[in-house]
């Protein structure tokens, strides 16, 4: 009956019993100069982020999180004092939803599969997933880069945006499920289709539905009916090829593979046909 509210039953179900950070540092953490190893076993998601913040403030810049099983929001709240350098966080193995939410400039490496909401509203930095990721990857992301080695789920890059020098990038090595780039308002999405057989179309339907900004680069086959009504197909020009080549090379640096071979594949570019696709419906 812990934590009953006036409305019976609304309980504080995961912020209760949070242990003090000093206790957790003593029990679950080994700090060695700039390196720190955190044992996340039995830690709640708030505790993980508390400890993460504390070890960074104590001078660690390369942090390894072990025994992660589903803790959410890892890397959020890690906004550091002015002049503090971004840190590198390695996660073994399975982070929970909203990994790197609001991430501000740090690098997160996941040695396993990620779940839903990777890079949700991410501000800057880099997330590299050595595996697959779930739904709504890079949702509302506004800067930084997300690299996923394998596939992603539904609604990747939903409402991704850009502003002046803020330009988010999502690179997916495999394929995606439906609604890739839904309501996309800016940024770059790259889908490489490396695990598809020759001629096998991408899995996603309704690609770019409601898209009104940004660009999607697709390598491999896609049928016309898989595309949303709001996107048009274009050939790549020289500027596009330069962008694609930059990120494919970076992808191969992280995950291996032959960048030259990948770049030989056929690419198309998807652009929104209107900057206000629903302007006629909602504006009056």
């Amino acid at each position: 009956m812990n934590g009953m509210n006036v409305k019976f039953g609304y309980r504080d179900n995961f912020l209760g019993d949070i242990r003090p950070v000093d206790e957790l540092i003593a029990q679950n953490t080994v700090i060695d100069g700039s390196k720190a190893v955190i044992n996340a076993n039995t830690l709640k998601h708030k505790e993980v982020n508390d400890v993460l913040r504390e070890v960074v403030l104590r001078g660690a810049s390369e942090i390894t999180l072990n025994n992660v099983y589903g803790q959410r929001y890892i890397g959020t709240r890690l906004v550091l004092p002015r002049g503090h350098k971004p840190v590198k966080i390695t996660i073994n193995k399975f982070p929970g939803n909203d990994l790197g939410m609001f991430l501000k400039g740090h690098q997160i490496i996941v040695n396993g599969n990620a779940q839903d909401g990777v890079g949700n509203t991410m501000d800057d930095g880099e997330i590299i997933v050595y595996g697959r990721a779930g739904d709504v990857v890079a949702m509302s992301m506004r800067d930084g880069k997300v690299f996923v080695r394998d596939n992603v789920g539904y609604r990747a890059a939903i409402h991704m945006k850009q502003y002046k020098n803020k330009l988010p990038v999502l690179v997916v090595g495999g394929t995606a499920q439906d609604f890739l780039g839904e309501y996309m308002a800016g940024g770059i999405v790259m889908l490489l289709g490396l695990n598809l057989k020759a001629g096998e179309p991408h899995r996603a339907n309704y690609i770019g539905t409601g898209m009104h900004g940004g660009v999607i680069y697709l390598r491999g086959t896609v049928e016309q009916h898989q595309l949303g009504k709001e996107v048009g197909v274009r050939e790549l020009d020289d500027a596009d090829r330069k962008i694609v080549s930059t990120y494919v090379k970076q992808y191969c640096e992280y995950f291996g593979g032959n960048a030259e071979e990948i770049l030989k594949g056929s690419f198309i570019k998807l652009l929104p046909v209107s900057l206000r696709p629903y302007g006629k419906i909602y504006a009056y």
Binding site: M1, G3, N5, V6, K7, F8, G9, Y10, R11, D12, N13, F14, H45, V68, Y69, G70, R72, K93, F94, P95, G96, N97, N113, Q115, D116, R132, G134, D135, D150, N151, V152, G153, Y154, G174, T175, A176, Q177, D178, F179, R203, H225
Partner: protein, 381 residues
Amino acid sequence: MLVQKHFESDRFIPDKKHDACGLFGVMNTKGEKFGGSMAINAIKNMKVRGSGLGGGFAIYGLYPEYKEYYALHIMYQNKNLDAKRRVEAFLKEHFYVVYDEEIPTNPDVALFFPPIVWRYYVAPQKKSEDQAIPDDEYVVTRVMYLNTNVDDAYVFSSGKDVGVFKGVGFPEEIADYFMLDKLYQGHIWTVHSRFPTNTPGWWGGAHPFNILDWTVVHNGEISSYGTNRRYLEMHNYYCTLHTDTEVLAYAVDLLMRRQSLPIEIVSKIFAPPMWDVIEKMNENDKELFTALRMTYAPLLMNGPFTVIIAHHNEMIGLTDRIRLRPITAGAKGDFVFLSSEEASIRAVCPDLEMAWTPPGGEPVVVRMNSQDHLLSVKNSI
């Protein structure tokens, strides 16, 4: 001057958390029985998905010594002993009650207003005019009668060799309360931690929902509830539990038991392909899917959902057609897992052999002595 008084809205009660539901199911495809530790630990791992307002378990292969009899789990709200007397008089008239007992509970676990929970092992006692009615049909009718006519009494589990345990609390508290890990073993365990979307948190309203040996746990919200409910009422199913998921349990019973449709078809009734997808199919499929959409339009489940449906030899995971709620399947040897989150499967089975996520509307069907669950891998990510 009159100034409008500022009332704080219920929506902004500080501790109210808008979480999702957590679902988990595990089945041994060889039918070997195992304890509840995997199901309990997995749902504990997804605690943030729950709200403490409901949790429950369905266990198959639970009562081997009484497997010929329907095991009725009945809760009496408000400790209403009069309801109990009325129910027992009814049972005596319509069934042979071979054994009954209070379901053992752990007195050290404090939960919110627990009802009296009793179980009865019964066999139908048919009058001469009922002889032609199949047993299952007979039991469904009696369960519906009790749920609609006796105040404070709810039959929340009515299958053979299967039991549902549920209530208000976190699922691990419910497991402690009914001592599931100590007392029971089964070959399928499904579990749910509930955030009541639009419905009060009460003991009968927790998942799983059961009718005969069918159980459903559900994450999401069935916005077509009204249509579905009216259609089911035409087939003598009455919704009494104040929550949307109930329609799914009855729809499954109607389509799969009464009409003997396979789950592959039922899943296309609940989550049918869009018309523009049907348009692109070959002639055979086009005819089939058009017919299904026309015939069963009132059983289309609209809105976001992920469900795990189970009965004795099957466990099925299904999402809505544009997958507004998550599901992940996993397998290791004879064990197959379905879960809202991959990490919770990994947490209880660290050496998992494979994990996959099917597209929306495509069921993962786990069958006894088969590898059918692998059929969904091809289109998955």
